[in-house]
């Protein structure tokens, strides 16, 4: 008998509900993200997008208010009862809306994650730092100032620095939360090119409030609204008039929000 070899989804979310105290931020979301896919989440403020990202790498453990129901599988493994949250977080690189450059040099910002996993050899670190900065399209601009503070870079450079830092974790899943909010259009386009290349090696979840950005990059797109997943589908289909829900159509066409 021949069994079809099924690909395990990188991420499986089943009936996810997120609460802060008694306030429900997200309810009943189910979705799957396949390996090497760019999956985008669009939706206005208060949709629950950031909250969704936070439970993926179990950052809820740092917030006693935050609770979730439902199941999340990463590489087919249930993350609910995971003891080693640190290993999970290392496999998921996160980029925040506003760049958070750690208070250290450009070099150390990128070398921190390898150091945390016990790599202390200078030559080895040099290689990692250069490769990550290259891939984040930042190397040429900072290669002469690796020893200056990360916070002295321009906003757009800092955002690429945080991407380089996320890449230094060698993540399987890269999560970006409205990364272009503080970045100029040119840098945004450069980062978008970077993401298209990174897709070959990792899975990407892209939360964005630029609807066109989702269209340019994402294989599939989900529309969140007030804590619900209204609709989800192939990006091109959603954008070419096949969206079923009127609210999705309105949002995509910029008619509310």
């Amino acid at each position: 008998m021949v069994t079809t070899t099924e690909i395990t989804p990188k991420l499986q979310v089943k009936d996810l509900t997120i609460r802060y105290g008694s306030h429900t931020a997200l309810s009943g979301v189910s979705l799957e993200v396949m390996p090497n896919e760019i999956f985008s989440i669009i939706g206005p403020a208060n949709a629950g997008k950031t909250s969704f990202l936070k439970v993926l790498n179990r950052m809820d453990t740092f917030n006693s208010e935050m609770k979730y129901d439902g199941k999340i599988f990463f590489n087919g493994l249930d993350t609910r009862h995971l003891r080693n949250h640190y290993a999970l977080r290392r496999r998921i690189g996160v980029v925040f809306p506003l760049p958070v450059g750690l208070p250290m040099t450009v070099y150390e910002n990128v070398a921190l994650s390898p150091r945390l996993r016990g790599i202390n050899n200078k030559a080895e670190l040099d290689v990692i730092v250069e490769r990550c900065l290259q891939r984040a399209a930042l190397w040429d601009e900072v290669k002469d100032r690796l020893d200056s503070l990360g916070s002295l870079l321009s906003g757009g450079q800092q955002q690429r620095l945080t991407i380089a830092r996320a890449l230094s974790q060698e993540p399987e899943l890269l999560v970006l939360d409205e990364f272009s909010i503080a970045v100029d259009p040119v840098t945004t386009m450069r980062i978008e090119e970077v993401l298209k290349e990174l897709k070959e090696e990792m899975t990407i979840i892209l939360v964005t409030n630029l609807v066109q950005q989702a269209r340019r990059l994402a294989d599939r797109t989900a529309f969140f609204l007030n804590g619900e997943c209204v609709e989800m589908g192939i990006t091109e289909a959603l954008f070419s008039g096949e969206a079923k829900d009127q609210r999705t159509i309105d949002y995509i066409e910029g008619r509310f929000g």
Partner: protein, 293 residues
């Protein structure tokens, strides 16, 4: 029409006058603050400056403490302060790290915080009596540097904890989150990001604490400081003289002391404290120059 824009109206003029008035008021208040410091220092230098010499600093008191120097008291104060620091700094910093970085906000933490605030409010004479009961008698350390320093340490602990915790809290939360997101443990985050950026504040707090410790009299009076003891202490179980107590003694307890002597002792004590404060300030400026965000 545009040219009228910059013509002063009555309202503008009133605003400017009020602003000048308040400015002057605040400057006067600030100057008033400096006054006591200037008067105290001036008096001490004027009346006690003449007695200060290398000999005064480095010889023993003689003739019933009416002549000679203050060496044993100076050394004793250094002993008391150092031992007190060796105890209060590790304890205080560890407690502050726990409270700032680990403790959840629950009734237990609130009780600890309440205890710290109350401990800070306990008068030093009460600490002194506690020190006698606990360290001199119960633990059997006798009147000794150890007992006196422990008493000083307990007394300064709340301030070390509070100032350290504030320095830790001044490191933005976003840095911790970014670090946790990378898979760092709490300790790795503290070690690599929080502590390096809080260390200037922590040290400043500690050094300021030192200066307070050096001046305390009541807590050491019954626990380890001696009235007159013209030897240097050999270890923590010895008694010792101390500058603060020596000042009290020569100013009020000993007959026929030359006028300049108490002022001289006070000047040395204040000099010591100011020296430590300026080290702390210099240090803070040095580190602030390297501020990273």
């Amino acid at each position: 029409m545009n040219s009228e824009m910059f013509i002063e109206s009555d309202l503008n003029r009133t605003n400017k006058r009020t602003q000048a008035l308040y400015r002057t008021l605040f400057i006067i208040m600030t100057l008033l603050l400096i006054l006591p410091v200037v008067i105290i220092l001036g008096t001490l230098v004027y009346k006690g400056g003449g007695i200060i010499s290398i000999d005064f600093l480095f010889t023993d008191p003689i003739n019933g403490m009416t002549e000679g120097g203050i060496f044993p008291a100076l050394v004793g104060t250094l002993w008391l302060v150092s031992v007190a620091l060796l105890i209060s700094v590790p304890l205080g910093v560890a407690a502050a790290i726990y409270l700032s970085e680990y403790a959840a906000d629950n009734w237990f933490t609130r009780i600890i915080n309440l205890a710290i605030i109350n401990l800070a409010g306990v008068p030093s004479i009460v600490h002194a009596l506690f020190g006698v009961g606990a360290f001199v008698i119960f633990f059997g350390f006798g009147t000794s540097i150890l007992a006196a320093s422990l008493t000083l340490a307990i007394m300064t602990l709340p301030v070390v904890i509070v100032s350290t915790r504030e320095s830790l809290q001044s490191v933005p939360y976003a840095f911790r989150e970014a670090c946790w997101n990378m898979g760092a443990t709490r300790w790795q985050t503290i070690r690599r990001v929080v502590l390096p950026n809080a260390v200037s504040g922590i040290l400043t707090g500690i050094i300021l604490e030192v200066s307070r410790t050096a001046g305390e009299t009541a807590p050491i009076m019954f626990t380890g400081a001696a009235f007159f003891l013209p030897y240097l202490p050999q270890g923590v179980f010895d008694q010792t003289m101390a500058l603060s107590l020596h000042l009290f003694v020569v100013a009020t307890q000993v007959p026929n002391v030359p006028d300049a002597l108490p002022y001289g002792v006070a000047l040395v004590l204040i000099g010591l404290v100011l020296l430590m404060n300026s080290i702390s300030i210099a240090f803070r400026m040095h580190l602030r120059g390297k501020k990273k965000w």
